[in-house]
Symmetry: C2
Subunit: 375 residues, 2 copies
């Protein structure tokens, strides 16, 4: 039901096709985040038009509201949110450690209080898989423990627990129409990352995620971990760098052999009136744009840039009209998705490495990343 | 540049075509309201898909923000908001009397303080036309004074001022690619309404609006005024009932010879989680809908009803996702626009009067209207 074929290589970068029950996914790919079964402010029709192929949704959020059993009873997540293409759910692990209150962790799992209503919940590897089977995404994730990347002693404990949990997730999984990916942890500690990559790669996962990055470490630290990890992974398995990134991160990640990315950054920036552009990140609330007849990016083919001036976008922002968020989300998502598609084509036609400097120059000034880019 | 042809009649109801510089407008027609140069939460592409043909925008709001000269300098309102079809702007009269603070009125015009920043402004008939010529809508409105419909003495003063202002608007108007409509006032006083209808009809306006209704009077009072006024108007001029209405109001208004309607109700209800339906007005936040797999209206052809369950819409509302407002706006606008299109077809094929009872039955329970349905 799942197969992954590499169609071209450029150094460590790969272009491929991952077949899923909801269609072929061309990789590398950037996945918009639809935390609560909706990519904020956009219809599925708009997502399709702007070029999205894979959408991520968050297990922790959907478990709490509206409930995974409700989603299952209404036909599963594809039917519920009306996304016809491939879907990915995370395991809830990241949110359990970043959002939930008063958590208590032991080898069996995590007890936590909901960030919505303070109610008490128990997450275990078995529970995470059960929720994700109820949701029914094409790609599901093993339950993992994130740790402070600089704390070697605790990173080792969390990594070893993540490994035991990965095996329990494999044992628990029942549905054969979902691809379960394992997650590498280990913080920014080379010895742990290497051990984690080797262990997770040894398990029968069709894809492997690199977790626990984009949580406050520097770009150099992230690159060092990618440089260490991806050579240890079998070519036949997909690589997914979770919660990344900026345009620059995508270029850097693909060059290091990553196939899948997701990040809330494009939609979150849109809600804060910011747009990716070759001039750097624009804040469209700026009075400079009040009479600017140009689109955000004259070279961009998205609906927003095809139709609307910066002056109109600024007007919508000043008038507190939610269409501003919609139009900026369309542009920011299209920008990242199209960048990854362009990179994919360049891998296939042999021009990737020669084009990297130009892409880097085009997108510099959009590189800022904070530890709050994940939900 | 403008012409109006009646293609069919059914009693006092008319079906026609009004030619404008931005295309032919089939009447009767319901116009969504795009107060601040945007129909809230929707792209122009979505408006086109849901069947909108005429969009109304508000002169008072656009004058204050972003400013009519800015809109003119950016190519006019069609270009600014990217609506390719016919546009209508009101005169600002209604908002001057309903929204602005500390107004002072005399025969020359009105001095008011902005509801946005308290700044002082002067509106006159000449100024209203100048602003509307800067905006550049296809249909523009004469500057009028609304009054408490029950106050006969003041309604007479306001009506007479509205008449003098109508003549000044005609004198001021320069652009020949805009159709200027006059406005009938007179509250709910039959003698004043009749006098106003006769006076406004005597001036060279291609269309005539019935103003000052939908401001708190009963449905019977509104119907009585329509029954009085429309027989006094020449068949050759369009009739526009401002700020109306509910599904029932549209049926009742068309039967009384009205051609154009606008109302914020569909989008305002959407923001309050409510949807028009043959079961009556639904509040989709209701827990009843938590697991309801049905669309809002199984007979509706809109994108929202074609794709999404009540359960999903309720989830979006509970999760405070703005997509809820978008999807409900699509449905509510489509419902009214499609109702008017269906009525138009029935006028053309001779079935209108026989179908009225069925339409009335289908839409009863959606009839509530408040004095806050206009902006």
């Amino acid at each position: 039901m799942f197969s992954y074929a590499i169609t071209a290589r450029a150094g460590r970068a790969r272009a491929g096709v991952f077949s899923t029950p909801h269609g072929d996914l061309e990789t590398p790919v950037f996945a918009p985040v639809g935390t609560q079964a909706t990519v904020k402010t956009l219809t599925p029709a708009q997502l399709g038009e702007l070029g999205a192929s894979l959408i991520l949704s968050n297990t922790y959020h959907l478990y709490l509201r509206p409930g995974d059993e409700l989603v299952r009873d209404l036909g599963g997540l594809h039917e519920f949110m009306q996304w016809p293409g491939p879907l990915l759910t995370d395991s809830g692990g990241f949110q359990v450690f970043s959002l939930a209150q008063t958590r208590k962790i032991d080898d069996a799992g995590v007890t936590l209080k909901s960030n919505i209503d303070g109610s008490s919940h128990r997450f275990t590897p078995e529970k995470s898989i059960q929720i994700q089977e109820n949701l029914g995404a094409d790609i599901i994730m093993a339950f993992d423990e994130c740790s402070d990347p600089n704390d070697h002693a605790y990173s080792k404990i969390a990594m070893e627990r993540t490994h035991r949990w990965a095996e329990r997730c494999l044992t628990t999984k029942k549905r054969n129409d979902q691809a379960l990916f394992g997650i590498i942890q280990g913080g920014i500690n080379p010895d742990l990352r290497a051990a984690s990559a080797q262990f997770i790669a040894s398990l029968p996962f069709p894809g492997i995620a690199i977790g626990g990055l984009s949580v406050g470490e520097t770009k150099d630290e992230m690159h060092a971990m990618l440089d260490l990890v991806t050579p240890l992974l079998p070519e036949s398995k997909l690589r997914y760098l979770m919660g990344v990134g900026t345009p620059e991160d995508l270029i850097d990640g693909i060059a290091r052999g990553v196939d899948i990315f997701d990040c809330v950054l494009p939609t979150r920036l849109a809600r804060h009136n910011a747009a990716f552009s070759p001039e750097g990140r624009l804040n469209l609330m700026n009075a400079t744009f009040a009479r600017d007849p140009r689109p955000i990016d004259e070279t961009c083919k998205c609906y927003t840039c095809h139709k609307f001036s910066r002056a109109y976008l600024r007007h919508l922002i000043m008038a507190k009209e939610s269409l501003a968020g919609t139009l900026l989300s369309i542009h920011n998502l299209h920008a990242l998705i199209q960048l990854v598609k362009d990179i994919r084509l360049s891998i296939m036609d042999g021009t990737f490495e020669s084009k990297i400097p130009a892409w880097r120059a085009q997108w510099e000034g959009n590189a800022e990343r904070t530890s709050t880019t994940r939900v």
